[in-house]
Amino acid sequence: MISAKNLTKQFISSKKKPGLLGALESLFYREPVIKNAVESFDLEINQGEMIGLLGPNGAGKTTLMKMFTGIIVPSSGELKILGHEPAQRHKEFRKNIALVMGQKSQLWWDIPAMDSFLLLKRYYEIPELEFKQRVTEMAALLNVESLMNIHVRRLSLGERMKMELMASLLHSPKVIFLDEPTIGLDLVAQENIRQFILDYHRKTHATLIITSHYMADVQALCQRLVLIFDGKKAFDGPLKTFETILGNDKIVSFQFADSLTEDAALFADFSPVYQEDRKGVELKIPLEKLRAVTSEALEKFDITEFNTDKMPIEKVMKTLMTNPQLLKRHSL
């Protein structure tokens, strides 16, 4: 379905010194800077998979997405999607993909969303009946029926994003690329968008590739993660494996009714971090000992609150981003 081998993209830009002198100098000479935005990237994705493409800013996620959608041409390597080379931008290929960009509007600002949809209906040659059915269904799901005839520039970001999603899915694409689809949205809107995407996937079994900095998106949508650091693939595997990439330890925190007077022997083996008022502690407990330790703690102390990590991937992601060298140890 999607197959990338040795995919590389180089960008050439130029350095410019600051100030007037720098500006004048740049008129005559500019030092070229070559950067590998994506380097020797291999990836295999099967029909119906939902993949989270993660990485820090500037790691090359968007460059990859641009190559996948045929917007930019790879510098070298091989890329096949649905049997096509995206950079050729074959009509058949374009008819079967969609790109949703959270940061950029694809709808025309000065006309209502419905007008854009009608245009897309022609571009993708969607039969009248199917078009009507899809628009009605999606508009109801996203709760935007009353907004279809309002100029896009008058919609709120959340409303516009819903319209963008609709516009991208009207033609039932087989492969959908979502570049930060929930960026800048409030929590309810984020949840709506996620639900909608999940629903769409369940119905159509399309292949989805998602980039996002919100781990909640990834948690909700992706079964498999691909991590990209500095243009290179750093991890590729199931979400479950990723969660335990730094070990099987669970982060557990306890809050006590009264301050502890001394360090508890029970916690000593689990690298305890006490709060300043000693009314709380955070522990790293191996999964197999979790049950024993917590029940003993509940017995021994007057515990008012007890938490385990809700989102282990967020923690893993943060740790990896601040200590990329850890990845080398854990890499494939």
Binding site: R94, L99, D179
Partner: protein, 266 residues
């Protein structure tokens, strides 16, 4: 209509709604510059002729000179009206990405916009001619003459569009192309007879100009409308040659340029 024709038609309709979305802006953009230009010219030539109705300058009476400039304005509207094509900015800001994904080519999209724009320009021109005729500033020529002139102007506008498109595509290499477009417009203004009739220039220079596309852009169509032109065939031939040349150049430049496109900001 087949699927492809429907795509074009729908795009043209969208273009109309976009062009007319801001009404005041639309009217100002289409009518404003032409009228301002015309009244500056009217006053300028009135001053030059000094109220003398019989004096001949470069073979033109005052009345003929004003007629010439009215037609220059109309020709400008139809043949060279489409100047808003800012491909360079779209390329620099990464705005063309969307069109690279839709199953409708980038050039098709812009050409459909051009066609939509031309319809509006023809309409505007018709209203302008009618108004000027009512003000008895202009004698409306025969229907046959209007049809001949209009057809030729539309043909020339294809050349102008292709040229604008070419300067826009240079945006793949240059960050800004507006200065190029301004130079092109000023040069065209002088060399095509839009600012002063070519009869004012030395004969040798005009002979040289005839080998360039410039005189065929404005001077020729003005003369068609004024009923003083009988070399339309050769003008069509020359412009067809330039259009094909530009089309080929655009094709090659796009193929090379798109490899450099970085889709900045996606």
């Amino acid at each position: 209509m087949n699927a492809s024709a429907l795509k074009w038609w729908e795009t043209i309709q969208i273009a109309w709604s976009k062009y007319t979305a801001y009404r005041l802006n639309f009217f100002l953009q289409v009518l404003g510059p032409a009228f301002v230009f015309f009244f500056i010219k009217y006053n300028l030539w009135s001053a030059i002729y000094g109220g003398d109705q019989d004096i001949l300058i470069a073979g033109y009476t005052f009345q003929q000179m004003i007629t010439y400039h009215i037609w220059a304005m109309i020709v400008g509207l139809i043949a060279q009206g489409h100047t808003a094509l800012n491909l360079a900015e779209e390329i620099r800001l990464g705005k063309i990405s969307t069109y690279l994904i839709y199953p409708f080519q980038f050039w098709e999209f812009h050409t459909a916009h051009f066609i939509a724009f031309q319809w509006l320009q023809v309409l505007t021109s018709a209203v302008t001619v009618l108004l000027l005729a009512l003000m008895s500033l202009l004698t409306v020529p025969s229907f046959a003459l209007i049809l001949t002139g209009l057809t030729y102007c539309l043909f020339v506008s294809v050349f102008w569009f292709a040229l604008q498109y070419l300067t826009g595509l240079l945006g793949f290499w240059l960050e800004e192309t507006w200065i190029l477009r301004v130079i092109l417009q000023i040069m065209t203004g002088f060399l095509s007879g839009a600012i002063i009739p070519l009869d004012f220039y030395p004969e040798k220079f005009v002979q040289f100009l005839n080998y360039t596309p410039f005189p065929y852009l404005t001077y020729f169509p003005i003369k068609i409308f004024m009923g003083e032109m009988n070399q339309i065939g050769s003008a069509y031939g020359i412009m067809a040659f330039w259009i094909v040349l530009l089309w080929l150049a655009n094709h090659l430049i796009w193929k090379k340029g798109i490899r450099l496109y970085t889709a900045a900001g996606m």
